[in-house]
């Protein structure tokens, strides 16, 4: 269209930021939800109204109480306050989700960067392996690894991470291939920079924002996967409270004691929703190319 001359560049930059800020009102809501989730992740066990239940204490006299002011989400088969367990469960879910995404991103970035930068046979072998891993359903792969490694928090995180990296490998390889062709990389090579320096100084920094966007979008699904493993019975063992385990436990007492399922289910939904909203907004701001 018409080339309208720019009036005042500095104002415009600010105006554009404000415009985007207004555009991503949803991601602000997501940020608030995420902040709330993180707050519970850190202080959940402290903030919980019945910290003794979190520690494993039981109160069989008060088992299966329906929601009331004292127990807004009722109590479970051991008389424990469901809300307290759910709040405390945030820690495991968020920590595990974060661990999975972080380890997955690191492995994927290394594989993708090496494949994209070295090229040739290395690229061929690494990417075929990546594609193969992608064809195995993530949950089944994670379940198989987790079952072989045995129960426990670290094993569960490791198992899911090992099924999580291929997406990052493909993303980073694509970015590296694109960056390799950029003029400034050729310029750096011309000035005699070594491959390591070029990779870490010039190529990888350009991949940071798509990786961050993918990590924030993945957080929600990682939390879901962690909960899924817990639901099936692989992963963290009671009495450590975990949303998936809580939900799977509550399932046995349906429909009479339905309230035992509500708090962990809703917590999962809120956490995942928050991370997804935030990730969506971040993508729009940080990675306009990836907008789809």
């Amino acid at each position: 269209m018409t080339d309208v001359p720019v009036s005042a560049p500095r104002n415009e930059g600010l105006a554009r930021m404000l415009y985007r800020f207004r555009q991503s009102r949803l991601s602000m809501i997501g940020a608030v939800m995420v902040a709330l989730v993180l707050l519970f992740a850190v202080f959940g066990p402290v903030l919980a109204p019945y910290p003794e239940h979190v520690a494993g204490g039981v109160d069989t006299a008060a088992r299966f109480q329906p929601p009331s002011p004292a127990h807004p989400f009722g109590t479970n088969e051991l008389g424990q306050d469901v809300l307290s367990l759910t709040m405390a469960g945030t820690t495991v879910s968020v920590l595990a989700g974060f661990g999975v995404v972080l380890i997955g991103a690191v492995i994927g970035t290394v594989v993708g960067a090496v494949a994209g930068y070295v090229g040739g046979w290395t690229d061929e072998v690494l990417m075929r392996f990546t594609d193969l891993t992608l064809t195995i359903p993530g949950l089944i792969l994670a379940m198989a690894i987790a079952a072989a490694l045995g129960p426990g928090f670290q094993n569960m995180v490791l198992a899911i991470s090992l099924s999580w990296w291929p997406g990052y490998a493909r993303l980073v390889r694509g970015e590296v291939l694109a960056a390799r062709e950029e003029v400034y990389v050729t310029a750096a090579r011309a000035t005699g920079a070594g491959p390591g320096r070029i990779l870490f100084r010039h190529v990888l920094p350009n991949c940071v924002s798509p990786i961050i966007v993918k990590m924030s979008l993945d957080m929600g699904f990682a939390i879901l996967t962690v909960a899924g493993l817990g639901f099936i019975g692989i992963g963290v063992r009671p009495p450590t409270p975990e949303w998936g385990t809580l939900l799977s436990n509550a399932r046995s007492y349906m429909p009479d004691y339905w309230w035992t399922a509500m708090a962990p289910g809703a917590a999962m939904f809120v956490a995942v929703f928050g991370f997804n909203l935030l990730g969506d907004g971040l993508r729009d701001i940080l990675d306009p190319k990836g907008r789809r």
């Binding site: 949803l26 075929r128 392996f129 193969l132 891993t133 064809t135 195995i136 359903p137 993530g138 949950l139 089944i140 792969l141 379940m143 198989a144 690894i145 079952a147 072989a148 490694l149 045995g150 929600g220 879901l224 909960a227 899924g228 639901f231 099936i232 019975g233 692989i234 939900l247 399932r251 349906m254 429909p255 339905w258 399922a261 289910g265 999962m268 939904f269 995942v272 929703f273 997804n276 909203l277 969506d280 907008r291 789809r292």
Partner: protein, 335 residues
């Protein structure tokens, strides 16, 4: 065209080899005590050794692998350590249930997601669009197993409109297997009663499974519709007075769908593995439930079999999508 398909089918061989290698590595190289679990807590050392010998678990990993791949060539998927049933027969029994579920879910997702995506693109930046965007992210964020529980609670336990789980009640005889899909087989054999029963069992798991692909397809369709609406040929169609329904259908929808198709293909493969939780909630006798039970007892042959079958279907689904893409978008035919 034929050569294109053959070439793609040939690619299945390295996929099979690669998949079995990865799964074997997990099964045999990671710590874990499948023999102990299968033999039971009271088994003596001799009994364990006998079991290990029977299943060849005492031999080197590469030898076990060679035996397995050799068996695969004859259609032998190995034997379950726990049930001693041939894995191939189990897969044949459970695969149709999973496929039926996935097809039903994909049907719902595509049948609703494509028109909804088109509509929200037309309503772009008005309130129904905003609302549906938020709902879509919400749908993607909803844990499928929690949704399944809520559906069960609501429709099976309180309202009692739908059965709680399973494919068919035990007292109902399944129809003659033709396709392996109970709903379809019942229709083909003209058994209405079984058809409605099977359909009522299928509804909740299919809905629970379909929600997130529905939302993703809707968002994808919305994005590609918006992109297509800005194309020159849409302006030309308008400038030449084509009626609105033709511009929408022939010009916009067709081009937008061809961009959305790739996502549908990816999702199909993804759903095959994503049924695990839904199958667990609804006690649906499919591959996911089968794999879960096997994994929990570290019975690896069934797990390798399931991963193999799903991986192959994943590759085949992508081939089908590529072919369909060629049908819709003539430019990429036989690419």
């Amino acid at each position: 065209m034929i050569r294109f398909i053959l070439r793609r089918l040939l690619l299945l061989i390295p996929v099979i080899i690669g998949l079995t290698m990865i799964m074997f590595a997990i099964a045999r190289l990671l710590p874990g005590d499948p023999v102990g679990l299968a033999a039971g807590p009271n088994a003596t050392a001799a009994e364990r050794a006998a079991l290990a010998t029977e299943f060849g678990l005492d031999r080197p990993v590469w030898e076990q692998y060679a035996t397995y791949v050799g068996g695969l060539a004859h259609g032998d998927f190995g034997t379950s350590l726990l049930t001693r049933r041939p894995v191939g027969a189990d897969l044949a029994a459970y695969l149709p249930a999973t496929l039926e579920l996935v097809f039903a879910a994909m049907f719902i997702a595509v049948a609703l997601g494509i028109p909804l995506g088109l509509l929200t693109a037309l309503w772009r930046n008005r309130w129904p669009d905003y609302v549906s965007q938020v709902l879509a992210i919400g749908a993607i964020s909803m844990p499928r197993f929690f949704l399944g529980l809520l559906l069960q609670l609501c429709f099976a336990m309180w309202l009692m409109w739908l059965p709680l789980g399973g494919r068919l009640p035990i007292i109902v005889f399944p129809p003659q297997p033709i396709t392996g899909f109970i709903t379809l087989d019942a229709l083909l054999t003209g058994d209405w009663q079984v058809f409605t029963t099977a359909l009522r069992h299928l509804i909740m798991p299919a809905v629970a499974l379909s929600l997130s692909p529905l939302a993703t397809i809707m968002r994808m369709m919305r994005a590609s519709t918006i992109e297509v609406m800005g194309q020159d040929y849409v302006m030309t169609a308008r400038a030449l007075g084509l009626p609105r329904h033709k511009i929408l259908g022939r010009v916009i929808a067709r081009n937008a769908v061809s961009a959305t198709l790739t996502v549908i293909g990816l999702y199909f493969g993804w759903l095959l593995g994503g049924t695990v939780l839904v199958e667990t909630v609804f006690d649906w006798p499919g591959l996911g439930l089968y794999a879960t039970k096997a994994i929990l007892s570290q019975d690896m042959m069934p797990v390798i079999g399931v991963a193999l079958v799903i991986g192959l279907i994943f590759v085949l689904a992508n081939l089908v999508i590529d072919l369909a893409y060629g049908l819709i978008n003539p430019k990429v035919r036989y690419a």
